[in-house]
């Protein structure tokens, strides 16, 4: 499956640490705040995350230790398809509440996991599963050149 190097945390590639102090109090409030608008900092950080590799998965947990069945299934599908770990990055939304909420607004998609291919939103677990079963995913990944070469 995916090596450790395939995983990178959201925080290191996000923004100046000074921001942490400012945003910390907001997350002690209840989740009613779901409706708040995506800040430009968060949007920029997610832009960067989405562009960090050809295949990007926002998931709960890590590829090695998924924290949710849907995230696990998505990782397994990408593994079965033979996605090249060097072209893959996963972001653990459980590590960052801002990412967890922000990515839902960013993608206009209410659930995690979320798959991006060449910065384009592909879908969540159900879509991934359907595309895996009907062959569309294999075709798409092949076309984007993100699979491990057959002779390796």
């Amino acid at each position: 499956m995916f090596s450790r190097t395939a995983f990178s945390a959201f925080r290191p590639i996000s923004r100046p640490s000074a921001l942490n102090a400012v945003r910390a109090p907001a997350f002690t409030l209840p989740s009613v705040l779901h409706a708040r608008l995506l800040s430009s900092e968060t949007k920029a950080a997610i832009d960067k995350a989405v562009a960090s590799a050809p295949v990007v998965l926002f998931m709960k947990g890590t590829p090695e230790t998924p924290q949710c069945g849907f995230s696990r299934a998505s990782i397994q599908i990408l593994g079965l398809q033979g996605v090249d770990p060097k072209k893959f990055v996963a972001f653990n939304v459980l590590e960052d509440p801002e990412l967890r909420q922000g990515v839902k607004e960013y993608s206009d998609w209410p659930t995690i996991p979320q798959l991006y291919l060449d910065k384009e939103f592909v879908g969540g677990c159900d879509i991934l599963m359907s595309m895996h079963q009907n062959g569309e995913l294999a075709k798409m990944l092949e076309e984007k050149g993100v699979l491990v070469a057959a002779d390796q």
Binding site: G69, K104, W109, P110, T111, G123, G124, D126, I127
Partner: protein, 88 residues
């Protein structure tokens, strides 16, 4: 933490039937009562000519308030034609 999400299969069903003009909506509550896990089969001709992603987005829009409260939401979206082809 609330014990239940407040979301019921009936509520989801009604919204989908009303707003998507869905001919068939089968919702299965897999949550064991907490309202956190639902599986759905949705048949609507509004899905015709739309990609799977666009279909899911339609459903997400209708259930904008409910989906964030559900942990496990598994919709399957078919047109009438596709659904009949499944042999049901």
């Amino acid at each position: 933490m609330a014990d239940t999400s407040g979301v019921t299969a009936e509520l989801l069903q009604k919204k989908l039937e009303d707003e998507l003009e869905a001919k068939t909506v089968k919702i299965e509550d897999l949550s064991g009562g907490c309202g956190q896990a639902f599986q759905a089969v949705i048949v609507s001709d509004k899905f015709a000519g739309k990609t799977l992603l666009a279909r899911h987005r339609l459903v997400n829009a209708v259930l904008k308030e409910e989906i964030p409260k559900i942990h496990a939401w598994t919709p399957k979206c078919y047109t009438t034609e596709q659904y009949e082809a499944l042999g049901e």
